[in-house]
Every structure is written in C-alpha cells, then in structure tokens.
Symmetry: D2
Subunit: 339 residues, 4 copies
C-alpha cells in the first residue's frame, strides 16, 4: 500500500527511533525537567536565532495551535485566519475551547494565502465597540493547506499589517520545515524576524512520533502557556520522550533534510503530472499535491494500492497527495502510472 | 541515583519498547484507525469483561481524568471527590477546564478514602435549587493518593450511594493495576461491576510511554468523548504508537505482573521500615510509602542519591516513595540503609 | 431631538408603567415565583397556543439569544445563521460565551434572509467527522436585521430543512411583534408550528423596560435553561417587575398594536421616500428603513435634530431609521423634510 | 403577610419610583450613554472619594460578583472566600462560568468572617507549581452571610495579607450600605482605602429595582469589564432605568438612611429576642437575624403570617429574618409575639 493521505501516515524516522532508544534507560526528571527537553530547547533557540524564546512540547498539532492562540487572544476577541486554515476546518473547535470562546474570522485570498489588501480592509473597517468582537490576533499557515508557501516577504507584509493594528501573529508551522526547504529562508526570517510572535512547530508530520512544539518568541507568556498546557492535559510526565525527538531532528539540520526529500517527491509527482498534461489544482510548492480526478482514475489508483485523501469535486474527486520523509520515487512513479 | 519521586520517573519497559518497534514500519491509518489501537481495545474489553466498552487513548492522566469527567457532569454541577484527589490537588484545574466550569466538592474520609457516611450525608443534605451547584458525579481514586486501596466491596458501597442519588461514577485508575495486584480482585469487580461508569486507566505509571486510556463502560457517551478528545488536542495522529503499548501491556497480563513487582518493592520498604521501628504515615497497600523524616534522615538520603517527593511536615518532612516496574530490591535496601 | 437610532431609544410605554406601578407595593416572592410572572407566562402560552411552553424572563436580548442557543447546541457544534444576524454581529461573542465555545457558521441569502438552497447545500456537504465542527442548530431572525420579514411559509421551509438534518431551530424575535404585525400571521405560525423550538421574545424594543423572554416550546430543556440563567446572573430577584411588563403587554394584544403603529410609521417613511424618488436600501416590511445618504442629507438631518444609526457607505453613509411605539407622524415628516 | 425571607422581597422605594418616573419620557441614548448613568457614576465616585473609579451597572448581584471576579482572576487561578460566601453557596457556579473555570478555595473563620491567620497560613503554604491551582484573588463579603460586619480595620488587615501575596481583593457589597450604617465608616474606608480593588455595590436589597453596580477602583480593567458585561448579556439597552436608581439613592445619602432603618429593625428584633431570653445564632450587627426555633414556634410564626428563610437544624429549624427599608416596627413586634 502507498499511503499519501497525509504525512502523518508515515512511521517514525529511524534516526528519531535511535534517539528515543538512547533516552530509554534509567530515571529522568519528569514534566520536561529532563536533559533531552533542555537540549532540544537550546537547539531550537539556536536554529531560530532566538535565544530568549521559550519552548513547550505538546503531543498534537491541534494542541500546539490552540495553546498558542490562547496565549494571544482574549475570549472576546477573534483570530483572523484563511478560510482553509487547519484551525478553522480541521480541529473541531479546539481554538474556541482553549481560548474560552474566541471567534475565528475569515480573511480570504487566492492559493490558500491571506490577501494583504483583504486583511488591511477588514482591520480598517473594524469599529471599536463593545457590541462587536474585535480582532485579537492573526494566524498564518505555512505551508498553507493547499500546498503553497508564504515567502519571508509575504509573511513580513501580513505581520506588518497585523502589527500596525496592534495584533500579534501566530504561525501554524505544522509543515514549517517544508516551507523552509521550499524557500531556502532562514528559520528566523519565516518567523520572528517577519513578525511572528508564537509558532506551532511541527514534528509529527516530519518523521517524529506525536510531538509538536510551541515556540514563544515573546517569552512573557511563558508562565501562562505552561499553566494552560497543564490544564489541557498536555504536560507529559515522561518528557524525555518528547524532547529527545526534537533534539535529534534539529541535530545536523536533519529536519530540513527530511523536508527537502518530501518536497522533492512532491515535485516529482508534479513534474510527472505536467508531463501527462494534468495540471494540479494548486501550485506545488512544498509536499502537497491536489489533483482533480475522474472515476476511472480513482479506480486505477485503488487498484495500484494508492491511498489519498479525497473530497467530492464535480462528477469526480479532488485528491490530496502528501509526501513525507518516507515517500519513495517508486511510490510516486506508481501513482503517476495509475493516473 | 535512585528515583522514587514518582512511578513516572522510570523508563519505558523493554517489552513495551519492543512492541513500539514492531509497529514502527510502513504506513498506518491515523487517528486510532490502526490495527494496534483496535487490538488494544479488544484486549481491554476482554480483560474488563466489558464487550460493549469504548476505549479512547490519550497522552496524560490529567487528560484522561478531565475528559472522563466532562462526559459525566454538566458545567453547572459538581464532582464529588476526596480532598487529596489528583483532580483536586495536582491537575491545575484541568477538570474545571474540560467541563467548562464544573466545581469539585470535597468529601472527607480517613486514609485517603471517601467515607461512605460522609458521602451519604452530603447527598441527603443537598437542596434541589437553582441557586446551588448540584452534585453531578462521584470520582474515586484507586490506588488512593496516600497509597491505600479501595476493595471491591468498598467501591461498590460508594457507587451504590452515588447511584441512589442519580450520580454516575468516575474512577481515577492511574494506578489501577497496583490496586488490582493488591486486592487480587477481577478488573470488572473494581470497576463496572462495582458501579464505575468511566475509568481512567493508567499506562504511564506502569511502564508505558505517555499513554493512558479512558474506558467508557457506558458506550452512549462515545461520540461526545471522541469530540471532546479532539477539541482538547488529544487525538494523536500516529495512533499506533499509543495502541501498541496497551496491546503489549495487556498481553499475558503483563500490566498486572509489573504492578505486582512495584507493590512488592513497596512492601519490602514497608517491612524494612517497621523492622527499624519507623511507621509509615499510611498503611502501605500498593506501591506508595509515605514516611515522616527529620533533617538528618534527609541528609543521609541525599548522600545515598535517593530522590523522593517531599512536603514540609513539622520540623522535618513527609517524604513520598513510589515504586515501579523498574525499582530493584537493592534500591529499596539503599533507602532503608539511609533511613 | 428625534431618535430613530433604535427602537430601544424610546421610553417605557405608559401602559407598562401603570402595570409596574401596580405591582410596586408590599412583598412578593422572589426569583419569578410571584403572581405577575405566573400570569405573564400563562398569557404567553395562550397567545402562542403552546400550553406546554416554559418561559424565562431575562433582561436583555443578548442574554435571551445566548441562553436560548446554549440549550440547543453543544460546545463542539455550530449555530447556522445569516451573516447579518445580531448573534454574529452585535453581541460581542455572547453566544460563544454562553455555549462554552460553539461556533457560528454563516449561511448567506438576499435581503437579510437565509436562502433555503444555501442552507440545504451546506448541510448536505457536511462530513460527519470528529475533525470538523458539526452544525448543531439553526438560528433565524424575524424581523431580519435589514428590516425584511420571514413569512410563516418561509420560516417553515427553513425549519424543515434544519429538522431533516436533525437540527433544532432558534428564532431571534427581538422584533417578533413587528413581524407578526407585518405578516398578520398567528404567533404560533411564525414560531412553533413552523418548527421553531426556542424563541427569544422581545420586550424592550416594543415599549418595555429591559425585559425579554426565552420561550421553550419544548419544555424538556427547562431545568437546564433555569440553571444557565442563574449562572449567567440573569435570574432577577425582584421578578415581579419583569413579569408585570409582559403581563400588561399581552393583555388585549397591546404588544401587536404597538408594533402595528411602529410598522405604520416606517411605512410612512418608506412612502415619503419613494414619493421623493429615494429608494430604501431594502424592502421596508416592518419598522426598519435603511437609506443611503450623501453628506448634504446628513447635514440637514443633523440640523433637524434627527438621530439615526449610520455606517460609512461609499462617499456617504447608509443610515438606519427604526420606528417604535412612540414615533409620531410629525417626526417622520420632519425626517422626510430633511431628506 | 410579613416577609422577612430576604431584603429583596420588598418593593421598590417610593423615592426610587419617583426617579424612575422622572426619566421615563422622550428618548435617551442607550447602553449607559444617558445622563442618569453619568450622574449616578459621578455620585458614586464622589461618595467613595474615588474620582478615577469606573462604574458598570448590571441587573443582579450574581452578575456583579461574577463579573467583578472575572476581571481579577485567570481561569487557572482560585478565588479565596469564606465557606458561607454567596459566590460559593448561592450563585450556582456563576463565578466559575464568568471566569471560564476558576476555582473557589475556602478559608474558614468564625462568625462568617475570614480569619486572618487562616488566610496567611493558606497563602504561605502555597507552592508555586504548574500542577496546582494558584490563589488569584481574595473575595470578602460585608455584611457577611450570617449578618456580622467587617470593620475597616478588619478589612484592611485581610487586604494587606492578600496584597503581600500579590492578590487583588473583591468585596461583595450586596449589603454594603448596611455595613456602612453599622460601622459608621466612610465608604472609602470599608473599600479602596482598606485595599479593595473591585466592589459589588448592592442596590436591589436596599430598595432598588434589579440593579447593582460593579465599581472598579482600579480603572485599568474598564474595557475588559465592559466587554465581559456585554458578552454576559448584562448591558441593558435602556440604561437610564438603571442609572436613575443609583442616582436617586445616592442623593442626600438616602441609601445609608434606608440601611440604617433596616439595621434598626434588626436591632429591635435582637433586643426583643434577648428580652425573651432567646439568643440569636450570630451577633446581630446589621439587618440579618438568625434564630434557632422549634416546631411550636414555627407553627406560631406561620399563624402570624410571618415568612422567614429556614434550614433544618436539629429537631427544629434555623430561621433567617432579613429586614429592609420597608420593614416596620409593628412587623417586628408581631414576629416577637409569635416567638
């Protein structure tokens, strides 16, 4: 079977496995007080050129996003995000839960990216009144949900608009490694140097085992974030098994290497499709490829043992293929052959 | 170093490690749809003689307890629990968060156990009025926080009182394996046959890696529980790494074997203390031993590299020693020598 | 000054004042146990032909709407409403607060009314998945926020769609009297006979003093609603001053008489505008008139002492005029003269 | 019938009625922008010698308390209060609702007053840890629920302890007028000069019609409080009917005059009881008298048409008599005759 439904269908990377094995001996201080968590935090600070940043490990991307947002908005405010954002479409209201009732307000834009003019217009039209929910934060997603990427300049532009209206910025970076691999930008340039205040830093979709990090570039929210994590049941007692994974992934920039591989596999699929005169639904900039298919293609893919995530689209379906560290060229070629 | 601060300071049991390695290959369906989760669920149903039960895996005991309680009480009700209960003392308000504001109401009793007469009196005195928070559920903890154990009969008595007043019952079984090992009771007899509706079934403190299970003996709350788990950011995408652990622990009743070992180590500590005419603060019935110590003893323990969890007590301290699958007889003997 | 900003800028109707005076003597049972509340409830049941209905008085329309919705949806569900709905635009997230985090999902339609086809399409496209917020209730507003009215048939059509997907229906009837006056429909036909489960029944905008009613046509949510009202600080201790108002308004169908007057004043404004070849922005069907004006008109209105609620619209403004029981023909004529 | 169940069983004072009538003409700006609200706010600032204070009117004491507390504590903190406090016993979890899940932690003390030593001990014992709910605010009640009064010095002592641990202080002053009448203290001395940060200032129990005020001595929470009030459905649109009442009550210090009358009636009851050698259950310091009665006394009171609030107490009952502006000497004498 060839699973391209999501990058979380893959196993844990062997290098991560080794790192987990290495910490699996003897006793360790619980709740993140262990050496592995400390080392992972130090590495993240260094790679992001953010010595003051605070890092909190959690077990899902949903928890990372919702926890991050809860530190930025009050219950009576809204989070501005794209209509396709994971926090809007795929988290069953987790942001509303963690924030005690904040709203998500949608800002449109082509190709999964928020349009700067739309953001500016929405914020300028906003009346300061006790009768209306006020915008409280901006949330971006990079890689976007349709597989496109924000450049550092695009990120900075949107952050600048948000900041000029007093809003802090969250970045859902479940696939930030893929965005970094795609743009070649420095981690700092896609995040805090562009104006991002809190980052959800993905692990699970890049070869790790159920671990994500919330990176607070502004450390003043650290205590609040720690308490919120605890209340959410997200403070793992055996913290070493979380920290060790990020520690290993950030050693020798492996996380970017794995993301580059995933992107390359998506590019191979993209190129193959175009060679067959099939245009993906969105520009393939990272590790996600959307293709509109008909019933015959669906049948052939099934016959080839290919699993993709599909949604009804006209008479056929729009399929999503997501590549990962473990995707092979032959798997991609099998998909192409079936299409 | 000898860590007896908590049973979660131990590493993951080698058998669990092997099971994790075994599922770490190829692709798997995400979010609990994998084979390991299915198999673990089947085993839990069989061991608890509860074929209709639904099982949800989460990553912490706090999440398990808070999620379980949220399925039982409305925001305007209270959860009755012992003043020492983990949900009251150690979870930073997670139950209040997950339940959207329910209260915890305390019912006292000696030795960490709720007294039946006190429970009955509180419920009989309660006025049915819109002005007062009404009791919504009973929460028991077995092993209790002071290391004592509820027998099946004691559990059934308290559940019967709760039920006669219309309250469902939650059991915090973070150390249920130790209670089962201590009492020799059948899992069903300490839980649903005694009247427990929802169980927090511990894994992490018994050799597993950051995984617990919520067992709904009444499956009617299954959808609600699934949605609440998702909203709480507790639906792990790579579910196989959670399910595989319970699957392995329940194979050949290993979870009980490990608990029996932990209990035996605590009994060894208890016996050694009594031989030295030191009385533990509470009856040692499972894997927890509380001892009141003076400054000299603290110094000797530190010199011996023994870590225990301490609270101020008079001129000295009350220390808590918790044994686990990995505690050795020589570690216990070293503690005894230092005391 | 001529205040047409909102129907809540008017004073309390003299008949209501008399009724308030009549109960202002001696002692009365608190918290709604008084005779006036009982009598008002009986009248509402009779007028709505709903003998089983339960009625709860609260002090604002925001509280009525949010309380009503909280009885219908779970925190992990959404309320479907029109983009202009008061619950979406004007209540600062009160529904999100009362429901502990439910979302509002928007369903468009012309003239302030939800389009049946759009509602059906949204509900049919919805995937039953733990990852997505599921629709939990439909909320209609009659009179709509733009001054149009749903007929009984239109209401029934939308309710039928909602019901076919398992959703209960809320009606924001802050101006229900005006809708009844406009359509001539029986109260039952615009509400429970059409499929409405819970009604926010307006008082304040129709000559009453800070009082609204939540009418539960399905009485099974009565206890929950009572508790939620108490927790929200909406259970007034001197309940007689709330009940007496509805009691008086429903005597001899005065509430409809006052609404008919308000509607007639809006119709007069509409007719006068059309005579001047000014087209209101929306069909004037009840007591609200929107007019797009230029700077000169704004100046003349100000000079005439006319207050209206305005929003920027192109080079000028879109003004909202709302008539009430106290609006006079000469006030309307003064507005027309200024325009 | 003689109603002494609560001071909210009385009607609205004639002076208040006159003031309400006076504003019931013509149009007024909504939502507190009217002249009466402005004037009432100015008077409260002057009487409390707090020119910077911000005042928000709400419709119930429960809303005032819960709103006040929500501005002081985070969801993960606790409010320290006496076990008899209204917020703990009589508000159905409203504080938990408004604060999104904060806990109430109880601090005991004789005669309904928090004991300073107990407060100090609790705060000193508190461990700063992410695992435990941390104290976030102190809430006092004056007049206490048993009818005793805190002096200015007692208030200041408790506030000082709270402040030394970084906690702000809330005062539930549903009967503050009675406490001021009893102590002769200046309003500032029983509140902000003693260290109170936010005051729930009662109206309803002192002759007003369903209106209370939240007084923020620290105005920095003003916006937050306004938004929270709106979200709670507590921003009355016809604000003039709220403001006019406080405006009239504070004119010529009438609110204190009415409270003095109520206190005098309670003193008359107290003196009469003692003359009959019946000792009230608590010192009678304001307008509340608790008396333990037997079945024969209950029967005689019923025969005399006396209504009191009772709770079972041994073979008999503990009755609560609360006097108000409208209680007469002959009513008190009738109670005494029946006892």
């Amino acid at each position: 079977m060839i699973w391209l439904t999501s990058d979380n269908a893959s196993a844990v990377h062997p290098v991560i496995w080794e790192a987990l094995s290495a910490v699996n001996a003897g006793y360790a201080k619980g709740y993140g007080g262990d050496d592995a968590c400390q080392s992972a935090t130090a590495q993240i600070r260094e790679v992001f050129e953010a010595p003051q940043a605070e890092v909190l490990f959690v077990t899902t991307g949903t928890a990372a996003n919702a926890l991050a947002l809860a530190t930025l908005v009050q219950p009576w405010q809204s989070v501005l995000c794209h209509p396709t954002a994971h926090i809007q479409m795929d988290e069953c209201g987790a942001p509303e839960f963690y924030t005690s009732g904040a709203k998500l307000a949608l800002v449109a834009g082509a190709d999964g990216r928020i349009e700067a003019a739309a953001l500016e217009a929405l914020l300028c039209a906003q009346e300061h009144s006790v009768h209306m929910v006020q915008a409280g934060a901006l949330s971006l997603t990079n890689v976007t949900e349709v597989g496109t990427v924000y450049s550092a300049a695009q990120t900075a532009q949107l952050c600048a608009i948000a900041k000029s209206h007093g809003l802090p910025v969250h970045l859902d970076g479940a696939r930030l490694a893929n965005a970094l691999a795609a743009t070649g930008a420095a981690p700092a340039d896609l995040t805090h140097r562009a104006g991002v205040d809190v980052l959800s830093l993905g692990g699970t979709k890049n070869g790790l085992m159920n671990v994500e990090a919330v990176v607070l570039f502004d450390p003043s929210a650290h205590w609040q974030a720690q308490v919120r994590r605890k209340r959410a049941g997200q403070l793992a007692s055996k913290g070493r098994y979380l920290g060790a994974q990020f520690d290993a992934a950030f050693t020798e920039a492996r996380w970017l290497e794995w993301a580059r591989h995933a992107n390359a596999m998506a590019a191979r699929l993209d190129a193959g499709l175009r060679a067959r005169e099939i245009a993906p639904a969105f520009a393939v900039e990272a590790n996600i490829v959307f293709v509109d298919v008909d019933a015959a293609q669906v049948t052939r893919l099934e016959a080839a043992g290919v699993q993709a995530y599909g949604e009804p689209k006209g008479a056929g379906q729009r399929l999503r293929f997501v590549t990962s560290w473990s995707t092979t060229a032959s798997e991609i070629d099998a998909v192409l052959a079936a299409l």
